[in-house]
Symmetry: C2
Amino acid sequence: MTYLSLTLTLPSWIGEYIHETGTQFSSIEERMALVVELSRLNIQHKTGGPFGAAIFRADGLLVAPGVNLVASACCSMFHAEMVAIAMAQQVLQTFDLGNDLATHYELYASTEPCAMCLGAVPWSGVNALVCAAYDEDARAIGFDEGAKSADWVAELEQRGISVLRDVLRGNAVEVLQAYADGGGLVYNGRSAK
Amino acid sequence: MTYLSLTLTLPSWIGEYIHETGTQFSSIEERMALVVELSRLNIQHKTGGPFGAAIFRADGLLVAPGVNLVASACCSMFHAEMVAIAMAQQVLQTFDLGNDLATHYELYASTEPCAMCLGAVPWSGVNALVCAAYDEDARAIGFDEGAKSADWVAELEQRGISVLRDVLRGNAVEVLQAYADGGGLVYNGRSAK
């Protein structure tokens, strides 16, 4: 007997897009360009909010992409980063991407993670976090990023997770702004008063 | 064409157990007793770590239970609270449990949430968080709770989410201790040095 169940499936356009791009992305900028393009395509295909993410192996192999699927999947935790982490762990069949010490994995995010995703990063086992837009860029179009420590970068680095910010930030901000200009749904949970 | 996909299914013993208990839990203590029992049964059935959670409607109807499924589902985000939130949102087909202003939902957790789950609480739309064991009880047996603000209770309350702590704490701590004494797997991601 099964009880409650939930299936998370990446939209088919992602598979088609990755089929075109291939799965090898050599430079940091190429990896981030993919992630920002996923955020743009997620708006175009109306599958979610303007956020993309991916887990790459340190040599540039794409392990799993992610996009924001909160509204389409009826699940508040399906931010792009969470989707990418969950899919990468499925692909590699491990709950800890850090358990193979010889192979490093990196999380790329088109916008710096919210409080939830930030809390998820150490549990994922990644060695690095690379971000494009600043969290204030998301806040500027109305998205709540939650109660984040002002020292979040240092807190990750204390755990051996390197943080690189401001990679293709301008490109990511263009996508955020296009979403806002197009009247995209800005959902939030319970905001601070 | 589908691409990557992930299915999260609650263990069948939960369905069987809820079939016995029914879905109405009138007092706060009865609701927490269910959640602590789920944490205990999760060890007994070897389906995950010693953590249980559930979403209740304010009138005591169980909407969805959750248990820690990190190791069995190969997914670091499947803490008990996240599983309960995701399942409740599936049952109600909404990504925001707060969107029906006439109906309040409450998250019960056998241990206070880690940094990730804490960040997820406002996004879930619940009106209240009720906890048994303190986070230091989880830390005492080796689980990392992540970088949490010292003011996390006040930060949730500023968002209109009430927090009630120390409900059946002793019962929940017994389960944590039994897990530790039994040599249960204490997994952690990247810990602070």
